[in-house]
Amino acid sequence: MKLDTPKKLACPELLDLAGGRPALLGSRCRACGEVYFPASHGCTRCCATDMEPYRVGSEGTLWSWTIQGFQPKAPYNGGESEADFKPYGVGYVEMPSGVKVESRLSVADPALLAIGMPMILTLQAYRQVPGEEPVYTYAFAPA
């Protein structure tokens, strides 16, 4: 994923794009070490509120997956017509800390997805409307 051109992001605060490759940002509880994505202001594990920023990373393994087979209604704003809608993959990816990140996947073919496979973070233009700048979100691709 080339990051040399600035992109419009749906969730810029979740991502660190410095260093040439996207990475997810979260938080960690200073009291018990629990990791959260997205960053949380409190720890639901130990009820503490002292949290620090935490780099969740770019690589993990596929923990579960599905294919979104129909076009979602609002609040989804992919912007395509019903005829142009293409099913997309969705999964949870287990990161090195153990936290599982819910994400769109770069592939939507069940034959290409298996629980346990290595995945790597990328950016995906989920909204592409003619005459508008595309909007990107984070996504995981088979590594």
């Binding site: 749906a10 969730c11 979740l14 979260g26 629990e34 990791v35 959260y36 994505f37 997205p38 639901t44 594990r45 923990w63 579960s64 997956w65 599905t66 294919i67 979104q68 087979g69 129909f70 979602p72 209604k73 609002a74 609040p75 989804y76 704003n77 992919g78 997309y88 969705v90 999964g91 949870y92 800390s97 153990g98 936290v99 599982k100 990140v101 819910e102 994400s103 769109r104 069940p110 629980i115 989920y126 909204r127 979100t137």
Partner: protein
Amino acid sequence: MDNEVAIIGVGLHPFGRTDALSGQQQGAYAVREALKDAGIEWKDVGVAYGGSQDGGNADALSNHLGLTGIPFVNVANGCATGGSALASVIAAIQSGVAEIGVAVGFDKHPRGAFNPRPKDWGLEDWYGETGLMLTTQFFALKTQRYMHEHGIGEDALVRIAQRAFRNGALTPHAWRRRELSYEEIAGSMAVNLPLRKFMFCNPAEGGAALVLCSAKHARKYSANPVIVKAAVMRTRHHGSFEVFNPGLAAQQSPAPTVMASRAAFELAGVGPQDIDVIQLQDTDSGSELIHIAENGFCEHGEQAHLLKNGDTDIHGRLPINTDGGCLANGEPVGASGLRQVIEICTQLRGQAGARQVPGTPRLGYTHVYGAPGVSAVTILQAG
């Protein structure tokens, strides 16, 4: 226990689509049916709890039923609305607030899938905008992981739906009354793999109501009261896999269902092996698959065999969702949990007709589960 509470009347407005009636009218209809069943009038009722998700306030039912001045409390607990209303009425009767109480749930949802707003769930807009905020996706992701962990194949998902529609066809008040073949279900549209079109229930409309009183007075009103041995509601712990979560904790923890089920069995002083007829939340085939084990009716992974063997059929050892469950009745969220209780009462009274569980069932079980991680369980005994 000498402080037990009994169900002395049940009333249902059939689930499905009733364009001519509002949700509140369907709720009021259910209350009138329940009062008739108990042989009492609305003015005899001393306390009421009720709720709906999209059908308006429950206490507005008084405008239909009569303004008698009683405490009527609105309950809003998502899928556990009915269970919470029931638990509250029981507590009110046990504490002496009233001799007779009513629990009511009703709903009328717009057609199509639920349309959540990220802000209502404490989430940012990006989560909805990028196409991650769908309940069907959540059920699929949870089912996919569960099947992987416990070595269960798609056959089990098809069989759950097949049994639901088979039982629905036997249930006069069910919404979906057409049996579906194995092939029809297995070949239906891949909505969110591994879940397909006919493995999901639809939002619907309907109303369900119960009349309750102290068990020691129950015979005054009813020849066949049903004793509530337990009515328990629980919410999630940290680490539970719940809907609308951009991130899941490193360590998984037992679901709210497990906690509610254990507490209910303990309270009732019985175990899963004692239950004769069962209602489990079947928003989709995958949810029921998971709930069979989470409620203690088998070990995780055993479901595939049970289903293939017909053990969960009406004539099996563990009859589940004898009226077709949510899959055949649809899910009016506020009413759904009380429909389950009504079906168990009907079974325990021996009034279930073509879908009657054989052998005079004595103990029944109901279970709801839903967003944002709530579960309610009841254990009911023929009086």
